[in-house]
């Protein structure tokens, strides 16, 4: 947009200029005609100028149009000749941070919280004598990287909307670059603007003899995604540390190996290990024998790709990287550079890397927890390596092997993975409130699937004082309802009573007919007779604790209810209820079965009388997986089973059954009570369990063998001194 307005600005100037010259050129014309011609002339001239600008403006976006797509060879890309004296950017500023060197306004407020990335069209740069600035030109890897980015949803072809700009100048390997000319080429980029919001990818920085740990090409304020940063060159929170891509990744297809113990304990398969370190490794081998395997380059093989995949030890030839799979730990020693492509090979083979590279910033360390996938040992402690590694518990080694392989798969395996991870990290910085979580970055899919992060994770026993809100679902059993209300109103911690009137054909009784109770009583009329109405997060529920209760549960004493509330306070993240039920695996039928008999185990509590956190009302109403909610409403059954599934799935915890079993429903309603014993009812409930288990994709319910009773329940102790004496009486 800014650019466009600049064009308009230009044309305004132009029109003023030419119209002022008009009168001198056409002095005696009639004013009307004169104006007409002048306008025509200036319009045409203007058009010409504008067109000319579009055509010849050297670095405008329209040069993309110049890039014709059917020229699908790098050699056909437009050639840019760098003038000898063209400017060079400043060296990277070490104090750059996102808030000083990055223009966040370009990223704007973005409802999708996604940055937009623009890639400069490909051009070939040559110096004034026509020699290219890089010996490889565009490398295969950089090409892969850029096409992956352009395929991703980060990409935009509109430079004016871009938050991040990526030059198409390949600087992955500093060795193949002419530093001065590359810098000049960067500075010539049309939007360079002192490198603001530009991102460079470099994997092999520095060159002999001192091997700097960051790219030597002067780059102003550009962000650097570099492999091999040291703590002195890495600008924390600005640069991104990336891995050195291993070309073997794409070629080698290692068979999947389960974590476990392996033939060798420590393996070193790097070539060109410095002789000082090799001597120390040799010493380790002498001390520990077979457990340590040291490999080196094969001297007798011909050079080239074949030799890169072989390693030798005293004449014995091993396949690389297959041999990495035979070892528990693999040494990744620093070379001239800190970043080593071997790290990628090691991770791929699910071998735990032992990283010896002082001051090295590990790849993607901003988001990846390397402590769960690697062992970092100071170079000085190389002789102690064996002892240190031996002290690691076996299960941790397996865990690290799994984690290492997952890191490779997700973040190292291809240039695409590396590129998109880098962009995601920058994205997380710009929209920190929408950033990926630690778990998203670090947990392999199997852990993501099996782990639970309870939404109520803080260990907290809420105070007694706010009390609970009782929610009574009723249809038309007014008499029974009133009895329930009268009973519940005796519970000391009751804060409010909410009656959910689920009968659309009949109005609730007049206000004067309701029992007089000490706490507020509200009646909510529903639009449809649905079971899910009982779990709706009504605004009227102002307490955390909700007691869901059916309109026929009159057998619970006030002591039992108060005790249930006390137990809920100790377990606010669970369902705490009275009637307990169990699910069982029916081996004959090969499916789940519902059980309501007197069992020694419990995996569900019925919500006909249960305490739970109001948060679960939200989950039930808005986050219930699949079609369960509609299914329950359609079948008018199993809402309690659905609630049990939901809570167990998100918290990973079993419900708590409180107090001894009793006949819950009123003695007069035996006819209705008979219903739950009804065979078809049981079949239907079993169907529900099977249906829900298939929707959840797992059986989240947890079976326990305990229930909660008051501390002194049935103890030989005067009843009147007990807090909850009236429990378990029939």
């Amino acid at each position: 947009m800014k650019w466009l307005s600049r064009i308009v600005g230009f044309s305004m100037c132009a029109s003023v200029k030419y119209s002022s010259r008009g009168p001198a050129l056409i002095p005696r014309m009639k004013t009307k005609h004169r104006i007409y011609y002048i306008t025509l002339f200036s319009v045409v001239l203007l058009g010409l100028i504008a067109t000319g600008m579009f055509q010849f403006w050297p670095h405008s976006i329209e040069s993309t149009a110049d890039w014709s797509v059917d020229r699908r060879s790098v050699h056909d890309a437009p050639l840019v000749r760098l003038p000898v004296a063209s400017s060079i950017p400043e060296r990277g500023d070490l104090s750059c941070r996102m808030h000083t060197c990055f223009d966040v306004y370009r990223c704007g407020y973005n409802p999708k919280n996604r940055i937009k990335v623009y890639i400069y069209p490909f051009q070939r740069y040559v110096d004034d004598v026509g020699a290219p600035i890089s010996s490889t030109g565009l490398s295969r890897e950089y090409n892969d990287l850029l096409s992956a980015i352009s395929d991703s949803d980060f990409y935009t072809d509109d430079v004016s909307r871009a938050c991040l700009l990526i030059p198409s100048i390949d600087v992955l390997n500093q060795n193949s670059l002419r530093i001065r000319e590359t810098a000049q080429a960067l500075a010539m980029l049309p939007r360079w603007d002192r490198g603001m919001n530009h991102l460079l990818f470099n994997m092999l920085p520095g060159g002999p003899p001192d091997y700097n740990t960051a790219l030597d090409v002067p780059r102003d304020r550009a962000l650097l995604a570099g492999g091999g940063f040291s703590t002195w060159t890495y600008r924390q929170g600005y640069d991104v540390s990336i891995p050195v891509y291993s070309p073997l990744s794409a070629e080698v297809d290692l068979p999947e190996r389960q974590p476990g113990s392996r033939r060798y304990f420590i393996l070193s398969a790097q070539t060109a290990v410095h002789r000082e370190y090799r001597a120390e490794l040799e010493r380790l081998k002498e001390e520990n024998g077979e457990a340590v395997l040291l490999l080196d380059k094969c001297s007798n093989l011909s050079q080239g790709a074949v030799s890169a995949r072989k390693r030798c030890c005293r004449g014995q030839v091993f396949d690389y990287p297959q041999i990495l799979q035979e070892s528990s730990f693999c040494v990744v020693l620093r070379g001239a550079r800190l970043g080593q492509a071997a790290l990628s090979d090691v991770l791929q083979a699910a071998c735990v890397p032992v990283i010896l590279a002082d001051s090295y910033i590990l790849p993607f360390s901003e988001v990846l927890d390397w402590k769960r996938a690697s062992v970092v040992i100071p170079e000085e402690k190389l002789p102690e390596m064996y002892t240190i590694l031996k002290s690691i518990p076996h299960r941790q080694v397996e865990e690290m092997q799994r984690q290492a392989h997952w890191f490779w798969e997700a973040y190292f395996s291809s240039m695409k993975a590396i590129g998109l991870t880098t962009l995601q990290i920058i994205n997380d910085r710009i929209y920190p409130y929408a950033a990926h979580t630690y778990e998203q970055w670090n947990n392999p899919p199997i852990v993501k699937w099996s782990s639970v992060n309870s939404p109520l994770f803080l260990p907290l026993i809420p105070p007694r004082s706010p009390g609970f809100t009782a929610v009574v679902l009723t249809y038309d059993r007014v008499e029974s309802l009133f009895r329930v209300i009268t009973e519940i109103s005796k519970v000391p911690s009751l804060a409010k009573l909410l009656v959910v009137w689920n009968n659309q054909n009949k109005s609730p009784p007049e206000e004067s007919l309701w029992p007089k109770i000490a706490v507020p009583l509200k009646v909510v009329r529903t639009k449809e007779n649905k079971l899910s109405n009982r779990f709706f997060p009504y605004d009227e529920i102002e307490t955390e604790a909700v007691l869901a209760i059916d309109d026929d549960i009159i057998m619970l004493t006030s002591d039992e209810l108060q005790f249930g509330y006390e137990v809920w306070r100790e377990f606010p993240d669970r369902l705490v209820g009275y009637p307990g039920r169990l699910h069982l695996w029916d081996h004959e039928m090969g499916k789940w079965k519902y059980e309501s008999e007197w069992t020694n185990e419990v995996s569900m509590v019925l919500t006909g009388a249960a305490f739970y956190h109001k948060y679960f009302n939200y989950l039930y109403t808005y986050k219930m997986p699949g079609d369960i909610k509609n299914w329950v409403d359609a079948h008018m059954n199993c809402e309690d089973i659905a609630m049990n599934f939901l809570v167990a799935n998100i918290t990973g915890k079993a419900p708590i059954k409180v107090t001894p079993r009793k006949k819950f429903k009123c003695p007069e309603c035996t006819a209705i009570d008979g219903l739950s014993l009804d065979q078809t009812h049981m079949v239907e409930r079993s169907e529900c369990i099977n249906k829900f288990a298939s929707v959840f994709g797992t059986m989240p319910l947890k079976v326990v063998e305990h229930r909660a009773d008051p501390v002194l329940y049935k103890d030989d102790f005067p009843e009147k001194l007990k807090s909850f004496p009236n429990i378990g009486s029939l």
Partner: protein, 729 residues
């Protein structure tokens, strides 16, 4: 006449038009042609909108096969020399652990901290005194500089604002004259304020040499990553130990309170940070976004005073609270359970090295200040629920007392020194936090009782029984032998360890009954009470069943307790329970063994807990408390309950027991039981108060429930019951 000129003009205009079409024409066909090309590309299987061309050439790899590692480096520099060069080059502002810290000092004795003796006549501020005593009371402290790995000055460096009354003069010469100073190597300097109004440069007024800086409000520019530690700012009223729990008592849903966003803080009307704070005024709408500032600062603040200076305790009513980090401590929002909104351009967040602030706060960019209300509104209530709990967790774990701040700082440095035993991000950022999760115990997260859910794993389904034997084995009818047999019969028992803490020599092997599980007899080192909580290598299971020798338990009871423990692996699950109460007459904590309606402790004479607590008891608690326990030969169970409740913030769990248990335990006075001692009870009372003062707060929590088997005492055939023995007398 004019016609001629008119034609001329027309002609030239026409020529221009032709030119225009000529140039424009190049583009028109190009743009009209491009869709057809796209079709062509999509036919070839490319995405039509893919703008990066798909090159047909075979491109070279960025790194040739034979050049993966350069050989010539081998010839040139020795890596050892290179390391030496690094450590001589990177000094001062470029200090890092690799170049300015001497790791060899920590090799011999582990991570020990030395505090210089206090010199007479040096005045030390209350806050700094608190820091020093927190270090001296910690397990890291050593009084021998020869053993130390880290040094802390006894000169007050907290307030380096020259205008402050706490300012210590001539620090430069005082520091230089310390003979252990060694140019600051392996020293850590605590600082809260530096420079002075209005610029607050980060100059401490003396040369810190190679010392690390633990400083509040440190700018990213001056912050040396992995070397300095950014600490939170705290006031002199901040408690030394313990500290209040946060104000989040309810996880109310929906989380919206009266105000959505509150900005509160000291506002400098001029000088540093005033711009942002004045800009904040533009987002104030008096309805749900409110700006509150106190302007009291310096002497002439009245002159600059305006209508926005106010004082109110509105934080309790808000969801988000903005924290311009520069000079405001984090407390108000942490304590009030508001989610902090941090506008921290250029400032390093407290403990940024270990805390994942994105899970606890909304990090805003000061440049996008005006977007903050809409960003805050867009955050889903699920996320707010999580942010609030995490804020409170962090507050309780790392910030609520001076001791926690200091210990966190030391642990961060220790993690750097012993990298291969350091905490993972998960350990720092999940309950119970890094101070209670010691990586020296194990680097495997599954060995701790806290991470089973997060890793999706379960504890090992067997236990190790540890029987504490103090009386010699004389008869075959002694309770210890019955106990051994009963425990060994449990289907979950993996092994039994008899800890022989008796002065008499070990009985012969054949005296022990034959059992199906291995019985290992260990002789206690010094035969002291604490040795029952030693983290013995022989304990291989996650669960430990701790038993007194005179405990009476049936196999069923053990089985049931273990199944309960599997649901609560981080708590103590056991039989006899005790309670504590506040004795307001005597102004101290009371201990009771009476039958009460609630309890807060479960005696470790018969309890199951995770073996990690053995490690924590031995390595986390200070020698002073353990010595007290050993001298009294009492209170070890109380201390264990204090410890576990301090970690979990939850009560222990009592399971049901046969009724004769209590009587047997208390009644067998014929034996030389410690329970028979009349002093015993008074000692326990004293212990409670001593422990509570060390923890700085009372960690015990009451519970009113007990866990029974599902069919316990139900009116149903006993044959249906799995744990029927528990009901039989």
């Amino acid at each position: 006449m004019q016609a001629k000129k008119r034609y001329l003009i027309l002609l030239s205009a026409g020529a221009c038009l032709v030119l225009l079409f000529y140039f424009g024409g190049v583009q028109v066909p190009a743009s009209s042609r491009s869709p057809s090309r796209r079709d062509e590309r999509s036919r070839n299987g490319f995405y039509p909108e893919q703008p990066w061309p798909d090159f047909a050439d075979s491109l070279q790899a960025f790194i040739p096969w034979d050049q993966v590692e350069t050989e010539d480096y081998n010839v040139h520099t020795s890596p050892r020399q290179k390391r030496d060069v690094n450590s001589s080059v990177y000094k001062g502002r470029r200090c890092r652990m690799d170049s300015c810290f001497d790791f060899s000092l920590c090799k011999r004795t582990g991570f020990k901290v030395y505090v210089y003796p206090q010199q007479k006549g040096e005045k030390i501020s209350e806050s700094y005194q608190n820091i020093l005593s927190a270090i001296e009371g910690s397990r890291f402290y050593t009084s021998d500089p020869g053993q130390a790995c880290l040094f802390v000055l006894s000169l007050d460096t907290l307030d380096r604002d020259q205008l402050s009354p706490q300012y210590v003069h001539n620090l430069k010469t005082k520091v230089q004259s310390l003979h252990l100073w060694n140019n600051g190597r392996n020293h850590i300097i605590f600082n809260l304020y530096s420079g002075t109004w209005p610029d607050y440069t980060e100059d401490l007024g003396f040369d810190i040499g190679q010392a690390m800086l633990a400083k509040a409000s440190i700018s990213t520019e001056n912050f040396r990553p992995n070397f300095d530690v950014s600490i939170p700012l705290f006031s002199k009223e901040h408690p030394r130990t313990g500290g209040e729990r946060g104000y989040l008592k309810y996880n109310t849903i929906p989380p919206f309170r009266k105000y959505m966003l509150v900005f509160k803080g000291k506002r400098y009307l001029t000088g540093i940070g005033s711009d942002t704070r004045n800009a904040l005024y533009h987002v104030h709408n008096a309805e749900d976004v409110v700006l509150l500032t106190t302007c009291k600062h310096g002497k002439d603040w009245q002159k600059h005073k305006d209508a926005r200076c106010d004082r109110d305790n509105m934080l309790h009513k808000c969801v988000f609270a903005s924290v311009p980090l520069t000079f405001l401590p984090l407390w108000p929002s942490c304590e009030a359970a508001c989610v902090p909104v941090m506008l921290s351009n250029g400032w390093e967040l407290p403990f940024s090295e270990i805390i994942d602030w994105n899970t606890a706060a909304v990090i805003g960019d000061e440049r996008l200040l005006l977007q903050i209300p809409s960003t805050a509104r867009s955050i889903h209530q699920d996320k707010i629920l999580a942010l609030r709990q995490q804020t409170q967790f962090l507050w309780e774990a790392y910030f609520s007392s001076v001791e926690k701040i200091v210990l966190t700082t030391l642990e961060i440095v220790q993690d750097r020194v012993f990298q291969h035993w350091s905490r993972s991000t998960l350990m720092w950022n999940s309950h119970p936090g890094g101070l209670f999760a010691l990586p020296q115990y194990s680097v495997y997260l599954g060995d701790f009782p806290f991470y089973y859910a997060a890793l999706g794993i379960k504890p090992y389904p067997k236990f190790t029984a540890v029987i504490h034997a103090v009386t010699p084995l004389v008869s075959q009818s002694q309770p210890i032998l019955k106990l051994l047999v009963a425990v060994a019969k449990s289907q979950y028992c993996a092994q039994i360890i008899v800890l022989w803490n008796c002065d008499k020599p070990l009985p012969a092997k054949h005296r022990w009954p034959a059992t199906s599980v291995p019985v290992i007899v260990i002789e206690g080192d010094s035969k002291v009470m604490s040795s029952r909580f030693q983290p013995y290598e022989t304990i291989v299971t996650d669960a430990v069943l701790s038993l007194d020798e005179d405990t009476v338990l049936s196999t069923t009871e053990v089985d049931f307790a273990f199944t309960v423990w599997q649901s609560f692996p981080e708590r103590i699950v056991g039989y006899p329970a005790r309670s504590h109460f506040w004795d307001s007459n005597k102004e101290r904590w009371g201990y009771t063994s009476k039958w009460t309606n609630d309890y807060s402790m479960v005696l470790t004479g018969a309890a199951i807990y995770h073996r990690y607590y053995h490690y924590l008891y031995t390595n986390f608690l200070p020698a002073s408390l353990k010595n007290m326990v050993d001298q009294l030969a009492n209170c070890e169970d109380i201390l264990m309950n204090f410890l576990v409740s301090a970690v979990t913030k939850l009560p222990p769990i009592k399971v049901t027991q046969k009724k004769q248990y209590k009587e047997t335990m208390m009644g067998q006075s014929s034996r030389a039981s410690r329970w028979a001692d009349p002093d015993h009870f008074a000692q326990r009372q004293t212990c409670m108060n001593k422990f509570a003062s060390w923890f700085g707060t009372m960690p015990l929590v009451h519970s009113q429930m007990r866990l029974d088997p599902v069919l316990f005492k139900d009116q149903v055939s006993i044959l249906r019951k799995k744990y029927r023995d528990i009901e039989r007398l």
